[in-house]
Symmetry: none
Subunit: 231 residues, 2 copies
């Protein structure tokens, strides 16, 4: 009836608790199998299969077949952005989950948002990159400055390689816990990869939580001028 994109179809896909749990699990950026996602959603495998078929038909996830497994992952960063935005709305309107698990504080501190860093450290990094003049606001977006390009090259990131990709280098992503933007895009992904390579941080098993070692977090804060978060 209405002209324009059909948002209700997409939203209804996310609006089912089992599917929302699956999508949340895929926010880790990892490809998961149907059985794993069924367990995450708390439903039988055959139920999960119909859900995954609908998510794929809706274009929210993509699949890859390997042997007798099928691996599912989000179809792109834009899906993760919308999910993160929905989390922000849910948090603001007081619809946090009734039982806040023990991992919740850790999630707020540092977590994976699809393929880049989110949480307190994520927004702190974003602010620090601005403070050091590595990033600059432009047209409601954000761009890498020449100074930032040199600095991050020295940090071990192939900046020119990133710029050759079709994907945007810098992108804002609204953080649901901090309600402020953090850095997405290929640069955001490359930075997180570099933190892992430097052994500053590691991923928790079966979780989006990113755990920084004490020296790793100290180095991160010094290197990128991250200030202590005001409570």
């Amino acid at each position: 009836m209405k002209a324009g994109p059909n948002i209700s179809h997409i939203a209804s896909l996310v609006g089912e608790p089992a599917r929302a749990n699956m999508l949340t699990a895929l926010m880790s950026g990892k490809a998961l199998t149907a059985t794993e996602l069924a367990h995450e959603a708390g439903v039988m495998p055959q139920t999960a299969s119909t859900h995954l078929a609908k998510l794929e038909a809706g274009g929210l996830i993509v699949t890859e077949k390997q042997g007798r497994h099928r691996y599912f992952q989000l179809s792109g960063g834009d899906v993760a952005d919308v999910l993160e935005g929905l989390m922000g709305l849910a948090a603001r309107t007081g619809h946090l989950r009734t039982r806040t698990g023990p991992r919740d504080p850790a999630l707020r501190h540092a977590r994976v948002c699809y393929d880049h860093l989110a949480g307190e450290l994520g927004v702190g990094l974003y602010d620090g990159l601005h403070r050091q003049g590595y990033l600059a606001a432009k047209d409601e977006g954000v761009v890498l400055t020449p100074k930032g390009g040199r600095a991050l090259n020295a940090f071990g990131i192939d900046v020119t390689g990133l710029q050759d990709q079709r994907r945007a280098v810098c992108k804002n992503c609204l953080d649901w816990s901090a309600r402020r933007p953090h850095l997405a895009g290929s640069l955001g992904a490359a930075l997180l990869d570099r933190f892992f390579a430097l052994k500053w941080a590691r991923r928790e098993k079966d979780s989006r939580v990113v755990t920084f070692s004490p020296p790793g977090e100290r180095e991160l804060r010094e290197r990128f001028a991250i200030r202590v978060e005001p409570v």
Copy 2:
């Protein structure tokens, strides 16, 4: 248990077509009344009321009471951002076109909007009345010109009788399918009544579809300078 905000509840609110239409209408930033939103969504007022109560409970909209009206608007720009993100996903995943049921083409062509004509012919009539100088824009609204009053009197409409009513003679009404205004108000209703009286058109049973007879539509187009709709 999962950590983080519960996105499925929020998403399910958007995932209902009627509510999605309401939210899309509120994307303009304007505050709309419950009746207006019911028209936008294509549901009865009591149905719209329950939807609006849920949207308010979910924190997506806020209300303000003024006299016997209640004005609804989005609770913040973050809601609009998420809706925009959903539109982007819907567009990317190829869900631009709306579901085309069998009744949809007829509905898009000509239908009743409360008590006046909507659809392609509705907006065509609106444009034709402007083109002939019968209607004139005024203060974001629309008024009947003296020339228009004479012409419509000759067409068989008691214009002076309309002006004595408390109800507004001319009013804009945004067309869902064309996303452009058509004519509402007592004049809009009187015109549709006249079309029925002249046997140019009739209403389909249990439907909002208005069917014009071939000679009726031809006369309508000639009399009111309705141009062929560009596809």
